[in-house]
């Protein structure tokens, strides 16, 4: 069925060191179906499916992240292809957001966070000490869980990035960037008559699209989205999902989501995370129709999570 047989053990710490405890054959069948699926132990660094692609945008190898003594990401290797939409799914606390935040070094500001492993964006190591994090973040934009527009006007929100990166030499250029970004985010028609209005006065869905426009305005190559629709109603969610589909033509998009339907609708590939492990990566269709790992199957069929 798959390359890795799930082994069951009461001693999880032994497992985390990679020691496989043999389990009698007859027991194995029972526990799989009747024990809680969370108890299934994953072998570290082993990912089912196809985690690697040719000519990837991001090449991530042996990634390990810990907060103090807690290991949040355990030896994950993954490629993220060009112009693909990859969805990270998994139960709460499985490390998918932590992993996402490594991709534009947002974890740098968390004092106790330690990141190990190799991160290559177009072949360049993004964690190199001489590397400018400002340039990295200009290339890898981010949209957050809760819409977080600055308490400024709509125009100033979108113009914020271009201004700090000096993308426009004239006011008219800046105007163009703002208009294009708002158009791409599908917000132009709603916002064009009130560009000077406070962004905080918009509805939640509009605010989130504004945050997407703000991210687009610095012309990034990759956009990271951390549960972008979790604070939105279904209609606003549908609009953002449409937007993701449109944007996938020109950007690489990594989206963390708790909604499996959303992952199924918007992504090309899906990665399933569990307790800091990357359990399975495959084409989205494959993950949702014939998952290869029992944990993935349990999760997408709603047995936990």
């Amino acid at each position: 069925m798959n390359t890795m047989s799930p082994s069951i053990s009461a001693e999880a710490d032994m497992q985390s060191k990679g020691a496989a405890v043999p389990v009698p054959e007859h027991k194995r069948k029972d526990t799989l179906m009747e024990d809680k699926p969370e108890d299934t132990v994953i072998e570290e660094g082993k990912t089912v499916g196809k985690p690697f692609t040719d000519n990837p945008k991001f090449k991530l190898r042996n990634v390990d992240v810990s907060y103090g003594a807690d290991r949040a990401i355990k030896n994950i290797s993954l490629d993220i292809g060009r112009n693909e939409v990859i969805a990270f799914i998994g139960p709460s606390g499985c490390g998918k957001s932590t992993f996402l935040r490594c991709l534009n070094r947002m974890n740098d500001s968390i004092e106790i966070c330690r990141v190990k492993g190799s991160f290559e964006l177009d072949g360049q190591n993004i964690y190199e000490s001489k590397r400018d994090v400002v340039e990295l973040r200009a290339r890898v934009g981010m949209v957050f869980q809760k819409p977080n527009p600055f308490p400024k006007s709509i125009y100033d929100n979108v113009a914020y990035g271009p201004r700090i990166h000096g993308l426009a030499n004239r006011k008219s250029e800046l105007d163009d960037i703002v208009e294009n970004s708002l158009r791409k985010a599908g917000l132009w028609n709603e916002a064009k008559d009130r560009l000077d209005a406070m962004a905080t006065g918009m509805s939640g869905g509009q605010q989130q699209r504004l945050c997407i426009a703000r991210a687009i305005a610095v012309s990034p190559e990759v956009i990271l989205m951390d549960e972008p629709c979790s604070a939105l109603d279904p209609i606003a969610t549908a609009r953002v999902e449409e937007l993701i589909a449109e944007m996938s033509e020109s950007y690489t998009i990594v989206i963390v989501t708790h909604s499996m339907q959303q992952a199924a609708r918007v992504s090309n590939r899906t990665a399933y995370f569990h307790m800091g492990h990357l359990v399975e990566v495959n084409k989205t269709d494959t993950v949702f129709t014939s998952p290869q790992h029992p944990l993935t199957e349990s999760y997408i069929t709603g047995r936990f999570g």
Binding site: S109, R137, N148, K152, C211
Partner: protein
Amino acid sequence: MQTSNLLPLILVLAVVAYGLAYMRSRAVAAPLGGIRNLKALPFYYAARAALWCAIPALIVLAVWAGFEGKVIQGIVIASLPQDTWPESAGQASLILSQISNVAAGSLDPEFVPEHIAGAASLLEAMQDKSGNFKAILVVLIAVLGATFAWTRVAPHINARKNVETTLRRIFFVCAALAVLTTAGIVFSVFLETLRFFDRVPITEFLFGTSWSPQTALRIDQIGSEGAFGVIPLFTGTLLISAIALLVAVPVGLLSAIYLSEYASKRMRSTIKPVLEMLAGIPTVVYGFFAALTVAPFIRDLAEIVGLEASSQSALAAGLVMGIMIVPFVSSLSDDVINAVPQTMRDGSLALGATQSETMKKVIFPAALPGIIGGILLAASRAIGETMIVVMAAGLAANLTANPLDSVTTVTVQIATLLVGDQEFDSAKTLSAFALGMLLFIVTLLLNVIALKIVRKYREQYD
């Protein structure tokens, strides 16, 4: 019995009432099948009994103690022979103090006229009688109140509601007390201020440019006319406060930014308490630091660069005061900067902004209203500061904008006007009340503005 003995007695009675009512409520509940069948918990019946015991008794005690003295005085005065009745209030108080001295035994009855000695013995008798009556009445009321509450320990009566209502009223009285005290102080200052404006026209006070409150005690003395122009005092206050704020705002604000955005957790937990300790140093300590160290240093420095500086200067007082109010600015600013949601920082950093760009363009504008509120609070503190200025800036009411000159402030003048033996109805002492009133209005305005700004800030993120 003395009032001071009655208070503990009432307390003891209340505790006894509490215990009895508690036991009775349990006893009442037992045959019904436990306290679940009472309308309220035993605690509430007990608390109600204690309140019924203590509150009426305390009220009677307070009223009695309030009127006792006046009533007895009236009776004693009325008992004097008609031809010795006092003609004025001053005379009456003289006679009364004589009588009470005799009654207290500090004046031998043989040295005073007979009618005074008689009145003294009457006073003594009256005080004894009043004390006994008071004690009996208060204890009686306490016991009656407790008994009443005790009879009303019944399963169908909801004591919880009564207790809650009473407690709410007690809290209200406490809150009202603070408000009434403030109002009382303002009112009395206001009345004295009006008396001052009877003597000195308000226009002279507000627009006069010279301040010299020394008035003559005798008509023929030189300089009998005092000058009560408040402008030099206010320019002095403004000058020193401005210097203080020039020190405190940049230092406080930048340290707040460092602490909230750049410092590591450990650094922050060390620096912040130390910085706040500055606010705990007594101002008089700052004062002698300013007078003995900073002021001479400034004078010497000014002489080196060829400027003339007095040994007491506005600059010295302002600089030291600035250090003193740094924690007001830094602590409040630190709080409002921290109150800006982390998502704002993340949003800005994720767009590739540096930490200082994020600070400058996102955090600071968002926190600005709160920061201004903090600065205004620090300003009203600076305006009200007295000790440092007394010691470091002098008493001379110079109308000047030169920080190297010695100036004086409103608060310093108030202090000097009322220190020492003074005649309390001269223009000189009354002017202190007018100054106090004016200062109160200015700081009140500042506080109102500060609160308004802070409230506006709050609305932004809620």
